[in-house]
């Protein structure tokens, strides 16, 4: 066992010290893994899988870094110079990785604030992007746009954007405007539209749908149609109702006029 006390040529420590330092690092890795598993079990019930994974990774790598620094310190490596160099390097890296860190921090805040969740249909208004959230990672978020394109958006951009979350609430209002000709009977049109809405199973009966004369516009009397639908079928309800209203108004002989302008020619 003499080799344990043998100084390693060119280094200021013995083989035994090196072995001990390696053991410290291995123990650090094991502790890191245990801490990652334990925190995973504890956190999975209180936060999303993505947030839990992120925190687990931070715990794991922090433990390994601490163990490595402890091992190196044990070997007598002086960190004063390293810290100084590290400070300068840190500033350089800080500038270089500014956007990466910003995305990382935004990713953490996305997990805490939860403006969106996986599966939510959303619209990022600033970017004119619409789609469904597929994955929220540490640095970026994957979105499947409604036209079937996979989009990766940096977390910072997502977090600082105006986001429309279309499924955050259980119900959404559908608003449709229909213009009828000035010579048509408004009450008849309102009754027909209300009947059509009420016959659609997916339109919520409570809150009650509302149809009213909204505007006496240039070419038509505009009726505003407001109804609520479950968020999951909002688009389907909207498209169905627009089509049904056109059909029933046609059947009832109620004219939906084109924009028109009456031009009077003065006598010369």
């Amino acid at each position: 066992m003499d080799w344990i006390d043998t100084a390693l040529p060119g280094f200021g420590f013995t083989a035994g010290q090196l072995l001990f330092a390696l053991i410290v690092i291995v123990v650090g890795i094991i502790i890191g893994r245990i801490a990652r598993m334990t925190s995973g079990k504890l956190l999975s019930s209180v936060m999303s899988e993505n947030a839990s994974n992120l925190i687990q990774r931070i715990i794991y790598y922090t433990t390994i870094i601490v163990a490595t620094l402890a091992a190196l310190s044990y070997l007598g490596i002086d960190f004063t110079g390293v810290l100084l160099a590290g400070g300068i390097l840190g500033i350089v890296i800080g500038f270089a990785t500014q956007s990466v860190v910003a995305n990382l921090i935004s990713g953490i805040f996305l997990q805490i604030d939860k403006p969106v969740s996986i599966g939510d249909p959303i619209g990022i208004i600033d970017e004119h992007l619409y789609g469904v959230i597929l994955e929220i990672n540490i640095l970026s978020t994957s979105i499947r746009t409604f036209d079937g394109v996979n989009l990766r958006i940096p977390n910072e951009k997502l977090f600082t954007s105006t986001i429309h979350n279309f499924s955050k609430y259980v119900a959404r209002r559908v608003v449709i405007t229909v213009g009828i000709a000035y010579h048509e009977e408004m009450k008849k049109a309102i009754d027909i539209i209300l009947k059509t809405i009420n016959e659609n199973s997916l339109v919520l009966a409570e809150p009650a749908p509302l149809v009213y004369v909204d505007e006496l516009s240039d070419s038509s009397v505009n009726l505003s149609i407001r109804m609520w639908a479950p968020s999951s079928v909002w688009f389907e309800v909207r498209t169905e109702i627009v089509q049904q209203i056109k059909k029933v108004l046609d059947e009832a002989g109620i004219e939906i006029p084109f924009p028109q302008r009456v031009i009077w020619n003065g006598k010369s």
Binding site: Y169, V170, A171, L204, E206, W228
Partner: protein, 254 residues
């Protein structure tokens, strides 16, 4: 009236009618059948499945009203056509109704499978609470009476005890329940909700209790209840599962 809910062993063909809905099972091969449901001349469902030794076991039972027109909500909101005013420290029992759907199941040794569900009533939905914190509910308008008045194959009877333990008069306009908690009972083809009571302890919140027992003596529990919510099983188990007493807190008014 011929009893329609129950188990059927089919060897050749089978037809049964629930008002405008006709269910038929037609043998298309030695071990295969075609299932059809016709509604006013339109075929709305068709399933081909195989059988054992040429026989098929079919079960038709009432199920919770959460399948039609699609699985949108698992809560039921029963609006009372006439609100019930209750004096302080009083209780009263009334007969109400709630919607049901009819489930068609194939039966095998190991498991049962719901091949179809349909409703004889026109399903409508409503929002209980506010859009940001409410529930989408299957909506039903119920009469209030002193005796059972449920429409056969369309509604289940509710024998509800309303209890006002508060010191003020209260008016009940609606009851809301989680369909996962609901057990149904049968007497012939008449369907009943399990024993239930609505408790009002203060002026703002009412609690609906489902007591996991028949509301009347001699009723049998609908056997296919579990299969009808298999698709929701995860959420259902989180709420306690079958055979437990259920409680729904109506925190958005009653």
């Amino acid at each position: 009236m011929v009893k329609k809910f129950g188990l059927y062993t089919i060897e050749d063909g089978f037809t049964i009618k629930f008002r405008n809905e006709q269910i038929s099972l037609k043998k298309t091969g030695d071990d295969s059948y075609t299932y059809r449901r016709d509604h006013k001349g339109e075929t709305s469902s068709k399933t081909v499945f195989s059988s054992r030794k040429g026989k098929v076991k079919l079960a038709i039972y009432p199920v919770r009203p959460i399948q039609m027109p699609r699985q949108l909500a698992h809560n039921i909101m029963v609006n009372l056509e006439s609100p019930i005013a209750l004096p302080p420290k009083s209780s009263v029992t009334h007969h109400l109704t709630m919607p049901i759907e009819i489930g068609v199941f194939t039966i095998s040794k190991n498991s049962n499978y719901m091949i179809d569900a349909f409703s004889l009533s026109f399903p409508k939905y409503g929002l209980y609470g506010k859009p940001n914190m409410g529930y989408i509910c299957r909506l039903h308008n119920s009469i209030i009476s002193s005796e059972e008045k449920a429409v056969p194959y369309e509604e289940a009877g509710i024998i509800m005890k309303f209890q006002n333990k508060s010191a003020d008069w209260v008016t009940v306009h609606k009851i809301v329940m989680d369909a996962y908690m609901v057990d149904l009972y049968l007497s012939g083809d008449t369907v009943y909700l399990e024993d239930s009571n609505l408790l009002i302890e203060d002026g703002t919140v009412a609690s609906l209790f489902l007591n996991n027992k028949p509301p009347l003596h001699g009723l049998k529990e609908v056997p296919m209840a579990a299969e009808s919510v298999k698709k929701f099983r995860l959420g259902f188990l989180e709420r306690g599962g079958f055979g437990v007493e259920g409680k729904f807190v109506m925190e958005h008014g009653y």
